[in-house]
Structure formats: structure tokens, C-alpha cells
């Protein structure tokens, strides 16, 4: 187990390091001089040269790369060229929107998806199963940002229950801030809930034919009891993998959904940075996204080994 753990953690850092190198190389290839871009076309060559020196642009690429990496390890993500603020601060501020949004969406998706999947599996082959699976099939096919538009139309514009968009900071009005995230998280959660319901149903149906369920039945449990005591736990294994992938997908999905609801989140920050060619911000923003995604994958893998001892043995 320890070996497996160490190998997996080592792999995580290797992936992250290569990802950082890929991002750095890609953005370094960018034509044009960032210093000139910031100062505008009327800047004197001396001013450009001074800024280049200040930004460290004349250093060799390898040095700049290691400065970036070691800076991040110390918590220094550089200074945004356009906003003149430390990138770390900017990102923490925006994360206060994106992270709760993702977590809300995840909670809704689990709370809706799993029970529906269990319900469908329980009534396998009955009309309720068919109806739920048709619903799930549709849910999977709905683009989350478009669903967000529909939700706004219904709950904000027609019924006036919730705000159509925008965000009140948490420390100003906690209640208003939470209300602002309801529709966006619903929009993000629907397709995920549909996928979860399908995975949960398939996993339960698979498990129901296993020997240990038959054994439990032979010991006198009803089918329902056997499934509840032994089936659901085993069926949760594939669900766990999907949950991890979904969290990663949700983080990326927020970038799109934040646009529908005019939320000042991480996505908005990076998006503006692209338009304004704020390389420092794009570079550190993308590596943070990659970090969150790979870290989630790592946690899922470790949790998987923890929940299912069989896998632990095999993989180590």
C-alpha cells in the first residue's frame, strides 16, 4: 500500500512538472514583446528595455522557468501585468466564487443523481426506470450554459425568485451571495446528475447478479436488504471514479457558466487575461486549474485503493 501511495504521489508531481513545462514553453513561443505590449506603441526603447529588465524577460528561458516554479513553491505567482496586483491574491479572491460554485454543483449532482440511479435500478425494467433513463439521456445532452440561460428565463425573469446574474461578495451579504450561486450551480449540476444516475443504475444492476448478493439472499435477507447492505457499497466504486472526473470537469465548466451569469470567478479572470495578453496571469491561472484537476484525480485514485482493498493489492 505504501509503495502504491508513494508511486502515485510521485506520478502526480511528475505530471504537474511536465504540465508546467508545457504551459511555459507554449506561452514563451508567443510572438510579440510583452513589455512593448504593456507600454503601448509610443514607448521609448529605453522604457521597454527597462521594463524587460524588471520583468526578467532578458534572462535565459531556463532561469525564467525555474524562477517561476520556485516562486510558486513559495506562494509567489508573479504580478499581473495588466492589473498590477499579485496573481496569487487575484486568484484567491476569484476562487471565493468558483470553488463554492463547484462544490454546490457537486452536492446537487450527488443529491439528485444517486437517489435517482438507485430508484431506477430498484424498479429495473418498469416504466419508472424507463422514464428516468429517458430523462437522464436528455440531461446528458443539454449544454450546461444553455440550461443556465433557460433557468434564468424561468426563475429570474418570469418568476423573480432568484437574481439573473452578478455576484455580491460573501463578506457584504452572505445570503445574497449564496442566492447568486443557486442558478449557476443548478446549471452545472444537471448534466452531471444525469451521468451519475446512469452510472449508479448500471453499477447496481451489475452488482445485483454477483455471488455475494445470492449468498446474502440464501442467508435469508430479502433482495432489497441484500442490495442495501452489500450492493450499494460495491456499486459506489465506479461512481467514485466518475465523481472525481466530474469535479475536474466542473472546475473547467465553471469557466463557461460564469459567462452566462456574469460571475466574477476564476474563469472570468483568465478569460480577460487572454484578451489583454496578460501572460503571467494566464500562465499561473492555467497551472492552477491543472493542479486542481490532477489533485482531484490523485485523491480519487487514493480513495479508490482505500475503499477497495482488492485494487490496492493488484496495483502495488
Amino acid at each position: 500500500m505504501t509503495l502504491y501511495l508513494l508511486r502515485r504521489i510521485f506520478g502526480f508531481f511528475v505530471t504537474l512538472f511536465i504540465a508546467a513545462a508545457v504551459i511555459f514553453i507554449l506561452l514563451d513561443l508567443l510572438p510579440g514583446d510583452p513589455a512593448r505590449f504593456i507600454l503601448g506603441i509610443n514607448a521609448t526603447p529605453e522604457a521597454v528595455a527597462a521594463l524587460r529588465l524588471q520583468m526578467g524577460l532578458d534572462d535565459p528561458a531556463l532561469l525564467r522557468f525555474s524562477n517561476w516554479i520556485f516562486g510558486m513553491l513559495r506562494g509567489d505567482f508573479g504580478v499581473s501585468q495588466t492589473q498590477k496586483l499579485p496573481v496569487a491574491g487575484l486568484m484567491v479572491e476569484r476562487m471565493s466564487v468558483t470553488l463554492p460554485l463547484t462544490v454546490f454543483a457537486m452536492v446537487i449532482s450527488v443529491a439528485v443523481g444517486l437517489p435517482l440511479g438507485i430508484l431506477a435500478a430498484r424498479h429495473r425494467g418498469k416504466p419508472i426506470d424507463t422514464a428516468l433513463m429517458v430523462l437522464a439521456q436528455t440531461g446528458v445532452a443539454v449544454p450546461n450554459f444553455w440550461f443556465g440561460m433557460l433557468l434564468t428565463l424561468l426563475f429570474a425573469v418570469t418568476l423573480h425568485w432568484l437574481p439573473p446574474g452578478g455576484f455580491t461578495p460573501w463578506n457584504e451579504d452572505f445570503w445574497a451571495a449564496s442566492r447568486g450561486l443557486v442558478l449557476p450551480s443548478l446549471a452545472l449540476a444537471l448534466p452531471q446528475a444525469a451521468i451519475l444516475a446512469r452510472v449508479m443504475r448500471t453499477a447496481l444492476v451489475d452488482v445485483s447478479t454477483q455471488d455475494f448478493i445470492r449468498t446474502a439472499r440464501a442467508k435469508g435477507m430479502t433482495f432489497g436488504e441484500a442490495m442495501w447492505r452489500h450492493g450499494v457499497r460495491n456499486a459506489l466504486l465506479p461512481v467514485l471514479t466518475i465523481l472525481g472526473l466530474q469535479f475536474a470537469f466542473l472546475i473547467a465548466g465553471t469557466i463557461i457558466v460564469e459567462n452566462v451569469f456574469y460571475l466574477p470567478g476564476l474563469g472570468k479572470l483568465i478569460y480577460t487575461a487572454i484578451l489583454e495578453r496578460d501572460l503571467v496571469l494566464v500562465r499561473s491561472g492555467t497551472i492552477i486549474l491543472v493542479l486542481v484537476v490532477s489533485f482531484t484525480m490523485l485523491v480519487v485514485d487514493l480513495a479508490y485503493g482505500f475503499v477497495d482493498p482488492r485494487l490496492r493489492e493488484r496495483r502495488a
Binding site: 511528475v14 440561460m149 439573473p164 465506479p238 470537469f249 478569460y271 486549474l289 491543472v290 484525480m297
Partner: protein, 282 residues
């Protein structure tokens, strides 16, 4: 596959037929649309669906049906090209990992970890920063996302088959490992790849819509279903139809593809019913 197979799998027929109708509509837009999509007429702005404009007209008076036809073509093209990238790079990588094992397999697996760590939106952001937004940007971003998916499907399928006797027989007959991969493994995993391809096609269409919607994908004057939703964003509260029509088109296409994929999986290889094909949006 023959007619009997098709009759036994009604889902496949329905899904395939619906997909083909949309694909044909898209292709038709190359030679004919009810109105030219560049035809701007302020007098017809926001025309409601009716005899003259079956699906109404947008804020510039362009015919919505024509836009949807042309947009469907773009969406399909982007998704298909992304699959070509995914299959073209992913399948050889997966096969190589399966037949050589050892360090080759390690490299391929680490590479797929790396590619999975970059959500397609992030790749699109990087490419857009480098080269500016465009449909090609979406193709590459979605394509890179497809590579590890196909690599894993190919590797998994090939590993299962390479333990079979006929592969051992081929080895004994003196066939080299690349030749075995080409002649014996590839044909046997073709059905897996086709099924995964249908899933990735539907995911690709959704991803294209998302990227174009935030302005990193298809750019005007070309149109795509996602771009139509972007255009509709500032107006949809007053004119919901402008966003309903392209949105519904996406939903129906994706449902059709998913149903076709499920049907294909059952028809091509009943044993696959249980195997977990990846169907997670990303």
C-alpha cells in the same frame, strides 16, 4: 452488419437515422439554404416562425433555419476532425503500449495522465492566447482531449485480445509485433473504437458549443450552434426563441448520437454491454 441486425436494434436505427438527417441537413447547407446566411435584412428582424421563415429570423434578420443548417455542419466538422486527431494519435499509442509494454507503456500512460490533466477549456485558452480564437483552435483543443480517451480504449481492447490463441499463433508464424497489431488487433478493436467514436462525437459537439459560446471557438462570419447561442445571449430574455432553437438542435443531435452509440455497442458486440466505456463530459 446487415438488415436483420438493424431490425433487432431499433435504438440503433432511430439514433442513426436522426444523426444522418442532421448531418445531411448540414451538408445540404453547402449547396443550398432557404436564405443565404449572410443575407441581412433589418425589416425581417425577429420574424416569428412561420411560412416565410420556418424557424423565424435573428436580430439581423437572418433566416434561423439556414443558420442552424450551416451551424450544424460546423459543429459536426469540428467534432469529426477532433475525432480524427484523437484516433490518429491515440489508437497507435494505445496499440504500441499494449504490444510493447514496459517503458513504452509507461510513457504512453504518463502522457495520457498529462493530457487528462488539461481540461479542453484550458487547452483552448492556451491556444487562443497563442494564435487567437478560431474553429481550428476548438478542433485542436477537443482533439487533444480525445487522444488519451482513444489510447486507453485501444490499449484496453488490445490487451484483452492479445492473450487469445490466434495472436500466439501469429507470433509463432513469425509475424512482427507491429504487423500483429495491424492485422489482428486493430480489426478486433475496431468496434470498440467506433462506439467510443460516437460518444466522443457527441461530447465534441457539446464542447464546440461551449468553446464557441465563450468566444474561443468558431468566429463570425462562420456560424456554429454554439456561436448562435453566444449571439443570442444578450437578447434571449426578450427573444428566447433565438437561443431555444440552436440549443434544442444541440440537444437533439447529442441525444441521437448517444442513442446510436448505445445501439451500436449492443449490435457490434453484445459482450461490451457491461464494459465501462468512458462517457464523461470534459
Amino acid at each position: 452488419m446487415n438488415w436483420t441486425t438493424l431490425r433487432r436494434h431499433p435504438r440503433l436505427v432511430i439514433g442513426l437515422a436522426a444523426t444522418l438527417i442532421f448531418a445531411a441537413m448540414g451538408l445540404l447547407s453547402l449547396i443550398w439554404t432557404p436564405y443565404p446566411i449572410t443575407d441581412i435584412a433589418i425589416a425581417r428582424r425577429f420574424a416569428t416562425p412561420g411560412a416565410e421563415h420556418l424557424l423565424g429570423a435573428d436580430q439581423l434578420g437572418r433566416d434561423m433555419l439556414s443558420l442552424i443548417m450551416s451551424g450544424t455542419l460546423t459543429s459536426f466538422t469540428v467534432a469529426v476532425m477532433a475525432i480524427i486527431i484523437g484516433v490518429g494519435i491515440g489508437v497507435p499509442l494505445g496499440l504500441a503500449a499494449a504490444i510493447y509494454g514496459g517503458p513504452v507503456e509507461w510513457v504512453v500512460l504518463r502522457f495520457s495522465d498529462l493530457a487528462f490533466a488539461f481540461p479542453s477549456v484550458v487547452i483552448a485558452i492556451l491556444i487562443a492566447t497563442l494564435m487567437g480564437p478560431g474553429a481550428g483552435n476548438a478542433v485542436i483543443a477537443i482533439g487533444i482531449f480525445n487522444v488519451p480517451v482513444f489510447a486507453q480504449v485501444a490499449r484496453g481492447g488490445a490487451l484483452a485480445i492479445s492473450t487469445l490463441d490466434f495472436v500466439a499463433a501469429a507470433r509463432l508464424a513469425g509475424l512482427s509485433r507491429p504487423m500483429i497489431a495491424l492485422r489482428h488487433l486493430l480489426p478486433n478493436i475496431a468496434s470498440l473504437i467506433i462506439v467510443q467514436g460516437t460518444i466522443q462525437l457527441s461530447l465534441g459537439i457539446l464542447a464546440e458549443a461551449g468553446l464557441s459560446y465563450i468566444g474561443l471557438g468558431t468566429q463570425p462570419p462562420a456560424t456554429s450552434l454554439g456561436l448562435m447561442l453566444r449571439d443570442a445571449q444578450s437578447l434571449f430574455l426578450i427573444h428566447p426563441w433565438l437561443s431555444l432553437a440552436p440549443g434544442l438542435a444541440i440537444v437533439v443531435i447529442v441525444i441521437a448520437l448517444n442513442i446510436a452509440g448505445d445501439g451500436l455497442r449492443d449490435a457490434l458486440d453484445p459482450r461490451l454491454k457491461r464494459q465501462g466505456l468512458t462517457n464523461v463530459a470534459g
